[in-house]
Symmetry: C2
DNA sequence: ATATTTGCAAACTATTTGCAGTTGT
DNA sequence: ACAACTGCAAATAGTTTGCAAATAT
């Protein structure tokens, strides 16, 4: 049976508190507050366990490493800020996508990712400030990438 | 200036002939026909070069390694077969996605991936056979994955 | 002639796993 | 007690890079 270790609790907390999907590295950093000495291997092991338990859900975005969010809530999509790279949940869904596939193809599911500026990162041009988003934090800027990569960092 | 080596030509051909986005490994295998001894490092280097040249475009799908397709053609999406894992182009687009984002968020772009059965892989249940798709080939079946992974194989 | 390209092997990054010691129940 | 869990280090897998030899122009 599953045990409640200091580490596992800190990892759960970190993700719950963030309010947005986190990268394993972000989970590590956030959870180390409640579990000094926490190692990245333990983070990965717990993410997997909590995933199997159904407590967490993996958020896979194109060209990004997996992030993790609390499992609750139904079908939804995500928004990634082009300035700070952070990901946010989007509850809406366009639906009616089955008809987009080529004839002979059967659509059973779909993934949608929106890109742009989160409420914290100023608009491309025009106004100056904006309201704050929930899972807020100082925003770093994104770097370039490889051939199309299979991993990311920050 | 760019040179036309036997390897680069074979790589271009392989992708053009496939008619669907290919993984670096698939490019290697297909291109080795026209360039014996071709190494994976050269494939990666050429993918990057052709990408920079604007000849190719990276196709990034959630939780998948990057695939590559010819750059021509405008905005479009992709369909991934849940049975054979192969990816196909989808020319349609639902549009009107800007309104889905939370207030304060600015949508500038989006990615959409459809999942289901390609015309070659029989429907979940019901009929028996189906028509053939263009970039056809025998279909292997998919395996499970890790925590949410950052790479894939076959 | 010479700058680009190639193959090989080593380097990297993200993630996983073996192992021996630690801890929750 | 004892199975679940942890940290560390080594192992994977995909991708990138240094280097000396090969090649296109």
């Amino acid at each position: 049976m599953e045990r409640n270790t200091r580490q596992r609790t800190a990892i759960r907390e970190a993700i719950a508190q963030a309010g947005r999907p986190l990268l394993p590295q972000e989970v590590l950093e956030a959870a180390q507050a409640g579990a000094p000495g926490l190692s990245i291997a333990t983070v990965y092991r717990n993410l997997r366990t909590l995933l199997d338990e159904g407590e967490l859900r993996a958020v896979l975005l194109p060209g990004e490493n997996a992030r993790y969010e609390l499992a609750g809530g139904g079908h939804h999509h995500h928004f990634q800020c082009l300035a700070c790279d952070r990901v946010f949940e989007v509850d809406a869904c366009p639906g009616n996508l089955a008809s987009l596939a080529p004839p002979g193809f059967i659509v059973e599911d779909h993934d949608l990712t929106l890109y742009g500026r989160c409420s914290e990162c100023a608009p491309p041009r025009g106004a100056k400030a904006a309201g704050r988003a929930k899972g807020a934090a100082p925003h770093t800027h994104r770097e370039s990438q490889g051939t199309g990569r299979a991993h990311k960092h920050r």
